[in-house]
């Protein structure tokens, strides 16, 4: 049987690493004769991806068991489904740990335990919390940048400058309304207030409808953040489709329901 152990050294004298993503080496040990292969672990510079690549590497090497200090219970469950056992809370020298595991396995085979090991509810909550915080931490810099950029835009470009763009034709007003809504963002109430003030300045229903439709749906400034979360293709197609749809819908409303409204 092959056992994979993330280690601090490329020998059996190294210590079991706490996390697979932060280990310097991955040892693939053949338990039959304790022969082993030491692989350089994926670089930590790839962040959270290093762990995933390390796991995929040991899977490719045919490891059936992974001994490690800590790993998410979700990963343990996922690998269990594929017939790979991950044993956590392991520490000490690699060679000794593997021998201890094999001894424990022999004992268990003599007295089989029908109950499968499942992570406790507390562990699952902790893992969910860890994952949530990690996902959020990854977005924090981008959200900070977007907010600062929004403030900069709102501080330098006045509403009066934007209002002067509207000419009175349905299509042009829709277009500029959609442009304005795509750049500005914030609470939808702000779009109601701007729409009302534009309306009282004589801007047509098409312009204000387009502005309000794109206010929440299309975001030019937050486009990098959306692209990071959902992919560049998704972000571009969704925002472009939202923009065009807002122009079309506001023109249709203006033409067919403008008088009634």
């Amino acid at each position: 049987m092959k056992i994979a152990v993330p280690s601090t050294e490329p020998t059996l004298e190294g210590y079991v690493a706490n996390k697979i993503g932060t280990a310097s080496y991955l040892l693939i040990i053949e338990t039959y004769d304790m022969s082993f292969e030491a692989i350089d672990a994926p670089s930590q510079s790839s962040g959270a991806g290093a762990g995933v690549r390390a796991l995929s590497l040991v899977m490719d090497k045919g490891a059936q068991v992974i001994l490690v200090g800590h790993i998410s219970p979700f990963i343990v469950n996922g690998f269990a489904d594929q017939g790979i056992k991950i044993v956590t809370q392991v520490s000490g020298k690699v060679g000794e740990t593997v021998k201890n595991y094999m001894d424990a396995l022999d004992t268990r085979q003599n007295n089989p335990d029908p109950q499968p090991e499942t992570p406790s509810s507390q562990d699952q909550w902790r893992a969910a919390m860890d994952m949530g915080l990690r996902q959020f931490r990854a977005f924090l810099p981008l959200v900070t940048g977007v907010v600062l950029l929004l403030g900069l835009f709102q501080g330098f470009i006045s509403e009066q400058k934007l209002v002067s763009l509207f000419s009175g034709t349905v299509l042009q007003d829709s277009f500029w309304g959609a442009c304005m809504g795509s750049i500005l963002t914030g609470n939808p109430v702000n779009s109601y207030v701007i729409a009302k003030s534009l309306f009282s300045m004589g801007v047509g229903i098409s312009g204000i409808t387009a502005l309000m439709l794109t206010w929440v749906n299309v975001g030019l400034i937050q486009l990098p953040a959306e692209a990071k979360a959902l992919g560049t293709g998704f972000a571009l197609v969704r925002n472009l489709a939202g923009f065009i749809m807002a122009v079309i819908i506001s023109c249709v409303i203006s033409m067919f329901a403008g008088g009634w409204i």
């Binding site: 403030g151 439709l213 992919g231």
Partner: protein, 178 residues
């Protein structure tokens, strides 16, 4: 010595890289402060105000993400918001969009997590489109622009969200759940 510095720099780079964009914007503030201090101060106040308004939605989003990670498996998400969820999926994603609050960028981590768990592009786009409808703000909308406009606007939002979602699902390929 230089090698050691280079090694430290290489270790630090993954931590610094995500902050390059906000640092770039901070530099813009610096330039703005030199050229137009009044406008830059106004811009900074606006940013602070946006940050203050973000606190509640971010907390809400974080709680939802933890709950989602704890209770929802890719299988469950696929069942409700996956390809075969049908009209039920459309209804759920619309309702979720209508009830979600706060700026959209506070929700991106949740969207990413949902996508990884198997939510389709159609349902994500529909969710995002329906965010234009805010039940709590409906009285304000009616007060400002009249009930006729409010009614037409809500219908336009629903139709727009659905059509945009159709376009997105047509042009963007789905990735399998993690």
């Amino acid at each position: 010595m230089n090698q050691k510095k280079w090694f430290i720099f290489q270790r630090m780079m993954p931590m610094i890289r995500p902050w390059l964009f906000p640092l770039g914007v901070v530099c813009l503030y610096g330039i703005g402060l030199m050229l137009a201090p009044e406008n830059t101060e106004k811009a900074f106040d606006k940013s602070c105000s946006i940050f203050r308004h973000l606190v509640l939605p971010i907390c809400l989003c974080l709680i939802m993400m933890v709950a989602l990670n704890r209770f929802l498996s890719p299988k469950t998400v696929t069942q409700f918001l996956g390809k075969s969820s049908g009209i039920k999926g459309l209804f759920i994603s619309s309702l979720a969009g209508i009830l979600s609050m706060g700026p959209v960028y506070a929700w991106y981590p949740l969207f990413k997590s949902m996508k990884e768990k198997g939510t389709t592009n159609f349902h994500l786009a529909n969710f995002m489109g329906c965010r234009s409808i805010k039940p709590v703000l409906l009285p304000v909308l009616v007060g400002y622009l009249g009930w006729r406009f409010a009614g037409v606007f809500v219908l336009a939002c629903l139709a727009g969200a659905f059509l945009v979602a159709c376009i997105v699902s047509l042009f963007c390929s789905e990735s399998p759940p993690n």
